[in-house]
C-alpha cells in the first residue's frame, strides 16, 4: 500500500534483563490516527523513542516514505518530519513561543545571528494554521498546559511533519481542552499527516482513532480497525493470559474487620467506593491503569483528601486520617513507585528500614545502632534479601530486593493493615514469588492485606476476594470460584463499554 508513510519492521530492543520490544512491526498511513495501546511496560514508550531516535533498536528497521531510514536523534527525526510530542512537554518556559517552536533549529545567518523577523513570521504562520489564539512573542511559561501543547504541535506545522506521535496527550487537559486538541488532530489528519496516538483512555481511543495496535510484553498482539472492534476485544488483547506462576494463597481464616470504607468519593478521581477487609484476608483490587485504584488507597491512607465518605477502623468510625495518624493506627501503604516514594536510594538497607520509625530505634534522639542492626538482620533473613551488608546503598540492589526493603520498612512498625500498590512491578520472577509468599505469610499472621495489581494472574493468585475497578468506581466483586480471568475481563470491559457508549 503506497499510502503507508512509515513502517516499522521487526524492531527488537533489549535492555539489561528485559526484552522491551520483541520483533515489533506496524505501519502508519497518511491521514490516519493510529492508536497504540497496552498496559504499562508493554513497550509503547520504547517503540516511540525508537521512532524519535532516542533509542537505537538492536534489530529491525524503520521504513519512512518508502526507504529504510536511520533516525539519529530527536532533531534529526524532527527535520525528517517525525515529531514526538511527549507527555512531559519538551519546552523552555523562559523562551518565547516562536523560539520554542524552532528550539535548536533557529534560522540564523552564517555568524549565528538570529533572523528574528523570519523566525517570527514562520512561527506566526504555524500558529495561525493551527488556529492558536496566542502570538509568537508570548513567553511559554505564562501559557496553560493546553496552550504549551499547542506550541509543540505547532512544530508539526513548522517542520512540515509527516508523522506526529502523541504520548498521553490528554493526561493533564480539561474536557474543553481535549475537544480542542481532537479538533487539531483531525485538522492534521485531514492534511495527510499520519498520527500515532498513545493513551490509556479507551473512550478517547474509540473516539479519535482509525486503527488500534495492541502491544503486550513487547510484542504486537495485533492491529485492528477501530470501527470493526469493540472494547471487549481490545481489552482482552491487552490483558491476555500470561504465564501461570505458582501462587501460594494464605489459609482463609478471617478474624475481625479491620477497615471499612463507605461511599468514599473524590471529584474527578473516583466515586462512591465502599469495601471492607478483615484480619487474615487478602483483598485484591484489580483494574486497568487509570481506573483510580491507587487514588482510592492513597485517600484511605490520607495522602489525598476525600470529598466525602466514611472510614471505620476496627469498628470505630474515624475522621479522614492524615498519613501520620494512619501509620500510628497501624496502617501501612507501600506505594507503587518505590524509587520516588519508598526508599532513600543512597542509604543502606539498615537506614532505610528504620527510617519511618526512628522513634522506635532511638533514645533521646540518639540512634540505637545495635537495635537497628538486629531489625535489619531479622528482615534480611525473613525476606531473604540479597545485599552485601547493612550499609550497601539500596540503589545497587535489584528491583526485587529494593521492594523487599520497602516492605521491611513498613513491617517493622507492626501494622494491622498493609496496602501494597503494584508490589511486583518491574521485578524479576524469583523475587515476585518471594513477595507472593510473603503476602500469604503476612495474612496467616493475622494482618489484613490489600493488594493492587494490574496483573490478573497475580491478583487472582494471592487474593481471597477481588474487587474490580473501572473509571473510578468499583464495578464488581468476586469470591471463591467466581474469581476467574473471564469474569474479571468482562467486569472491566463491559463497564468501560457502557461508559464509552
Amino acid at each position: 500500500m503506497d499510502d503507508v508513510i512509515l513502517k516499522v519492521e521487526g524492531i527488537t530492543k533489549t535492555f539489561p534483563g528485559v526484552k522491551a520490544l520483541d520483533d515489533v512491526s506496524f505501519d502508519i498511513r497518511r491521514g490516519e490516527v493510529h492508536a497504540l495501546v497496552g498496559e504499562n511496560g508493554a513497550g509503547k514508550s520504547t517503540l516511540m523513542k525508537a521512532l524519535a531516535g532516542l533509542h537505537k533498536p538492536d534489530q529491525g528497521q524503520i521504513i519512512y516514505q518508502g526507504a529504510p531510514t536511520e533516525v539519529t536523534g530527536p532533531l534529526d527525526a524532527r527535520q525528517k518530519g517525525i515529531l514526538l510530542i511527549h507527555q512531559e512537554l519538551s519546552l523552555s518556559p523562559e523562551l518565547s513561543v516562536a523560539e520554542n517552536i524552532y528550539l535548536g533549529a533557529w534560522p540564523t545567518n552564517r555568524f549565528g545571528v538570529l533572523k528574528k523577523r523570519e523566525l517570527r513570521r514562520n512561527a506566526s504562520a504555524a500558529l495561525q494554521a493551527l488556529g492558536c489564539g496566542f502570538g509568537p512573542d508570548v513567553r511559554v511559561g505564562t501559557l496553560s498546559v493546553a496552550m504549551q501543547q499547542m506550541v509543540e504541535i505547532a512544530r508539526a506545522e513548522a517542520f512540515r511533519a509527516n508523522v506526529v506521535i502523541f504520548d498521553e496527550p490528554t493526561a493533564s487537559l480539561t474536557d474543553t481542552e481535549k475537544e480542542q486538541l481532537f479538533h487539531t488532530i483531525r485538522g492534521l489528519k485531514a492534511r495527510g499527516v499520519g498520527i500515532v496516538y498513545i493513551s490509556h483512555k479507551m473512550d478517547e481511543i474509540f473516539d479519535i482513532t482509525d486503527r488500534i495496535t495492541v502491544l503486550r510484553d513487547g510484542k504486537v498482539q495485533g492491529t485492528v480497525e477501530t470501527a470493526a472492534t469493540d472494547l471487549n476485544q481490545v481489552t482482552r488483547m491487552m490483558i491476555g493470559r500470561t504465564l501461570d506462576a505458582y501462587f501460594v494463597k494464605a489459609k482463609a481464616e478471617f478474624g475481625e474487620e479491620v477497615l471499612r470504607v463507605d461511599g468514599l468519593s473524590k471529584q474527578g478521581l473516583f466515586r462512591d467506593v465502599s469495601f471492607s477487609v478483615r484480619e487474615g484476608e487478602v483483598l485484591g483490587l484489580y483494574g486497568l491503569v487509570g481506573a483510580g485504584r491507587s487514588e482510592v488507597v492513597e485517600t484511605v491512607f490520607g495522602v489525598r483528601k476525600a470529598d466525602g465518605g466514611k472510614i471505620t477502623w476496627k469498628g470505630g468510625e474515624i475522621d479522614l486520617p492524615t498519613p501520620r495518624q494512619s501509620i500510628d493506627m497501624g496502617m501501612a501503604l507501600v506505594p507503587e513507585s518505590r524509587k520516588e516514594q519508598g526508599l532513600v536510594l543512597m542509604m543502606g538497607g539498615r537506614e532505610n528500614t528504620s527510617l519511618p520509625h526512628l522513634r522506635l530505634f532511638s533514645e533521646l534522639s540518639i540512634m540505637n545502632r545495635s537495635r537497628e542492626l538486629a531489625t535489619f538482620e531479622k528482615y534480611r533473613s525473613a525476606l531473604s534479601i540479597k545485599t552485601t551488608g547493612p550499609d550497601q546503598a539500596v540503589s545497587q540492589l535489584s528491583g526485587g530486593n529494593q521492594q523487599k526493603f520497602v516492605l521491611a520498612k513498613w513491617l517493622c512498625a507492626d501494622p494491622k493493615l498493609i496496602i501494597l500498590d503494584e508490589p511486583t512491578r518491574g521485578i524479576d520472577v524469583g523475587s515476585k514469588s518471594a513477595i507472593h509468599e510473603l503476602i500469604a505469610d503476612l495474612a496467616e499472621q493475622g494482618l489484613a492485606v490489600i493488594v493492587i495489581s494490574s496483573e490478573m494472574p497475580e491478583v487472582l493468585g494471592v487474593s481471597h476476594r477481588v474487587l474490580t475497578m473501572s473509571e473510578g468506581a468499583i464495578v464488581a466483586e468476586f469470591e471463591g470460584d467466581d474469581m476467574t480471568e473471564e469474569n474479571l475481563i468482562d467486569a472491566v470491559s463491559h463497564h468501560r463499554g457502557e461508559a464509552a457508549a
Binding site: L54, G73, P74, L75, D76, R78, S90, L91, S92, P93, E94, L95, E99, L103, G104, A105, W106, T108, F111, G112, V113, L114, K116, G131, C132, G133, F134, G135, V138, T142, L143, S144, A146, M147, M150, T176, E177, Q180
Partner: protein, 324 residues
C-alpha cells in the same frame, strides 16, 4: 478557541507592571539613589557618579561573564583568581616581551582557564561549583607561585596611563563595561548562542532533544567568563600599577551577589544583562553611598548582607505573585 489565548496580555499598565516585576532591581536602584542623595550632598555630584561607575565596572565586567554562565544553570567561582593571574602576567611579563604581548598573554590565560573549567564541567559531569571551587584555590596558588608571594610593580608607568581616557566623567573602564554588557545583551537576545544559553539553563532535556550541543555550548560560556575575568584583571593592573597576589579575593562572591541581586536566576534559564547592570550599579551605589556617610566597614558589610537577602526575598515574593 477562547481558552487558547494568552491570559496575560493586558493593558499597557499591566504590561508595565509586569516589566517592573521582572526588572525589580531598577526600582531598587532608584530607591537607593534617592536615599543617598538625600543623605549626602556629595552623592549626586558628577565626580562621584563617575567614581561609582568606575568602581562598579570591575565587578561589572566579571558579572557579565557570570551572567552568561549562570543563565546556563552553572556558576564560576574562579573569576577572582583568574583576574589575579591575568593581572600578574600582564605586569610580570612586560619586562620580557613588552606591554602588549604581556597583556595579550594575560588575556589568553583567562580564556584558557575558562576553557578548562568549561571542559571539565561539560565532560566530567561534575558540578561547576566543585570544578570552579578547585579553580578558585588552585589558580590562586598558581598566582602566588608566579609572583613569589610579592606584589609585582610596573617598571614603565605609562602603563597606568592607558585607561586614563574619559568621556566626560566616565572612565574607559566604565565605558568598556557598558559596551561589553550591551554586546552580550545582544548576544543573549539576538544570536543562536544566546537562545541556546536560555534553552540549556531552562530545560536541559528539551535543549538536548532539540539537538543543541549542550557540552560545546557550556564550554563556550565558561571561556567567555574566563576571558572577561582576565580583561577585568588587566584593567585593574593598569589602574593600580601593581599586581597583588591577593587581588580580586572574594570578588567572585561580590560578582555573584551583583548578578543575583539583578534578578538572574541561580538555577538558570532566566536573566539578562539589563538585570546584571542594575545589580552591579546597585551594589556600587550602596558601597559608595555608605562610604560617603562614613559608615564603618563592618556596618557596610552588614547592610550589604541585609540588602541582598531583602532584595531576593522581594524577588521571591513578587515572582511568586506573578506565578499565581
Amino acid at each position: 478557541m477562547s481558552s487558547v489565548t494568552d491570559r496575560r496580555t493586558g493593558s499597557p499598565l499591566h504590561n508595565l507592571l509586569n516589566l517592573l516585576l521582572r526588572n525589580h532591581i531598577w526600582v531598587f536602584l532608584a530607591l537607593t539613589v534617592v536615599v543617598f542623595s538625600l543623605a549626602s550632598p556629595y552623592f549626586l555630584t558628577i565626580n562621584n557618579v563617575g567614581n561609582i561607575l568606575t568602581q562598579g565596572a570591575f565587578i561589572g565586567i566579571l558579572a557579565i561573564g557570570m551572567t552568561m554562565v549562570m543563565i546556563d544553570g552553572e556558576i564560576d567561582l574562579s573569576v577572582g583568581a583568574i583576574l589575579a593571574l591575568a593581572s600578574a602576567l600582564a605586569i610580570g611579563l612586560q619586562d620580557h616581551m613588552g606591554v602588549w604581548p604581556a597583556v595579550f598573554l594575560g588575556l589568553m590565560s583567562g580564556a584558557a582557564l575558562g576553557f578548562v573549567n568549561g571542559t571539565l564541567v561539560a565532560l566530567s559531569g561534575m558540578h561547576s561549583f566543585i570544578v570552579t571551587l578547585g579553580g578558585l584555590i588552585g589558580i590562586r596558588g598558581l598566582v602566588f607561585v608566579y609572583s613569589g608571594e610579592n606584589a609585582l610593580m610596573v617598571q614603565d608607568f605609562s602603563y597606568t596611563e592607558i585607561p586614563e581616557i574619559y568621556l566626560g566623567p566616565i572612565s574607559l573602564t566604565a565605558i568598556l563595561f557598558f559596551v561589553l554588557a550591551l554586546f552580550f545583551q545582544w548576544v543573549l537576545s539576538s544570536t543562536r548562542h544566546g537562545r541556546e544559553t536560555y534553552a540549556v539553563g531552562d530545560n536541559i532535556e528539551a535543549a538536548h532533544d532539540a539537538g543543541i550541543n549542550v557540552k560545546r555550548h557550556k564550554i563556550i560560556n565558561f571561556t567567555i567568563c574566563g576571558t572577561l575575568a582576565a580583561i577585568c584583571g588587566i584593567l585593574l593592573s593598569m589602574r593600580l600599577g601593581t599586581a597583588e597576589p591577593n587581588a580580586g579575593k572574594i570578588w567572585e562572591l561580590w560578582t555573584i551577589i551583583a548578578v543575583v541581586l539583578g534578578g538572574t536566576r541561580l538555577q538558570g534559564g532566566f536573566g539578562s544583562m539589563w538585570m546584571t547592570i542594575g545589580g552591579v550599579l546597585t551594589l556600587a551605589v550602596l558601597r559608595n553611598g555608605l562610604r560617603l556617610l562614613n559608615t564603618p566597614n563592618y556596618v557596610e558589610l552588614m547592610v550589604m548582607g541585609g540588602v541582598l537577602v531583602l532584595a531576593l526575598a522581594l524577588d521571591k515574593l513578587l515572582n511568586h505573585k506573578e506565578d499565581r
